[in-house]
């Protein structure tokens, strides 16, 4: 594989899971916030699908 693709794999795939976990932790804090107005309830939905993939970069 080229050096360029190696860098891409590192960035795009290799660290994806780790970053996902970290960010989700932060985002979940946002998800349960209090209602904003009397008439309405503010809701935040976090969503994802098909999360499986390589955790580690190949090379």
């Amino acid at each position: 594989m080229s050096r360029e693709s190696n860098r891409s794999m590192l960035g795009r795939r290799g660290s994806a899971l780790v970053a996902a976990l970290a960010l989700l932790l932060a985002a979940l804090v946002v998800a349960g916030r209090e209602s904003r107005a009397d008439q309405g309830v503010d809701l935040t939905l976090l969503f994802q699908s098909a999360v499986q993939g390589k955790i580690s970069p190949c090379g």
Binding site: M1, S2, R3, E4, S5, N6, S8, M9, L10, G11, R12, R13, S15, A16, L17, V18, A19, A20, L21, A22, L23, L24, L25, A26, A27, L28, V30, A31, G32, S35, R36, A37, D38, Q39, G40, V41, D42, L43, T44, L45, L46, F47, Q48, S49, A50, V51, Q52, G53, K54, I55, S56, P57, C58, G59
Partner: protein, 382 residues
Amino acid sequence: MALDGGDLFGQRTQSEKDQTSFLCKETAALGYKVFGVGEMDLNYGLDYLRETEKTYGFLFVNANVRQTAGGPLLFPPYTVIEQEGLRIGVISVLSPAMKITTMSATPDQFVVDSPRDALDKYLPELRKKSDVVVLLAHLSSTETRELLVGMGDKDGNNPLIDICVEGQDIRQYRRLNKIGSVALLAANNQGKYVGQLDMTVDKKSHQIQFGEEPVTIYELDEKSPETTAVRDRVTSFEAEAAKKAKEIPPDTHSRPLGSTSEKFLGASACAKCHSQDYQTYASSAHARAWQTLVEKGQESNSDCVGCHVVGYNHVNGYDRGDSQSGRNSLYNVQCEACHGYGTQHVRDGQWVAAAKSSCTTCHTAENSPNFEYASYWAKIKH
């Protein structure tokens, strides 16, 4: 509220099963509880899925998968979550087009009903029990859009579904899509994206209002923050996985391609007649492909090796345990990785055409997002 549209589980290999176990543990730690069922989630059999639910407090919902035609559903068709004083109904369907194959000792059989029939049956009762209804649609994009027609009232007054999370195709919707009044969302592809939808639900009418840009797609690239504790757990998992991979006997993977009557001869054999071409290869990144795996400790990772050797999926291809016939020296992306068996060289006349079409086997959008034939060919022109 965090929802997963399905395919939490991995491919049908032991290494991916181990990875699935790790991912489930981490996903549970993040607070995910409700999942749609993807066809991958049944890869390790129903017993494994049930055990996972029990271990991590997960709930898989699905309204159209059965063990036998006419038999009971395998999962609860829907669930209702209490959130901020609202009742959030979550229902899920799987595409009948997806083939489900398990790797359990006695393979399970599954029947997937029509998603529309399933929704027609369960949505009215779920609507009555819910203030907001979310569909986790593990369907293709086309199937999802067809299914949603008529599910959302044009004025948003009496919709059967309020929000749909599309779970199968690799895509992300960065803006709010609407099919009728249904908000259509997607953030799929190997855990590299997380979607966020912000909304305000009227306390009395339960109508949903969205702001100007209610959807945020977080792209989880190298710029995203990492937490040390999670990083440490991933590092530990990687080390354990690498150790296990080295313990697997060589040449135990399946080789679906090629023929027992053909052989890979190795680049040194090619060099005897094609010395100039060999020099081009020797100075290219292809000749250093194996070393990049070694540097990352991935030389035993079956998910990686195939694109760094000759003929990993071919009969008589690279085998790290076979020094007698020299198959253990078929590492790096040598001539025959693109051109095929050296023993076929003279006979089939497909030498050049086969090579040209082989690049994208490994230079996929995933592995090689900047791949473009002309400029890449220029690097190895011969």
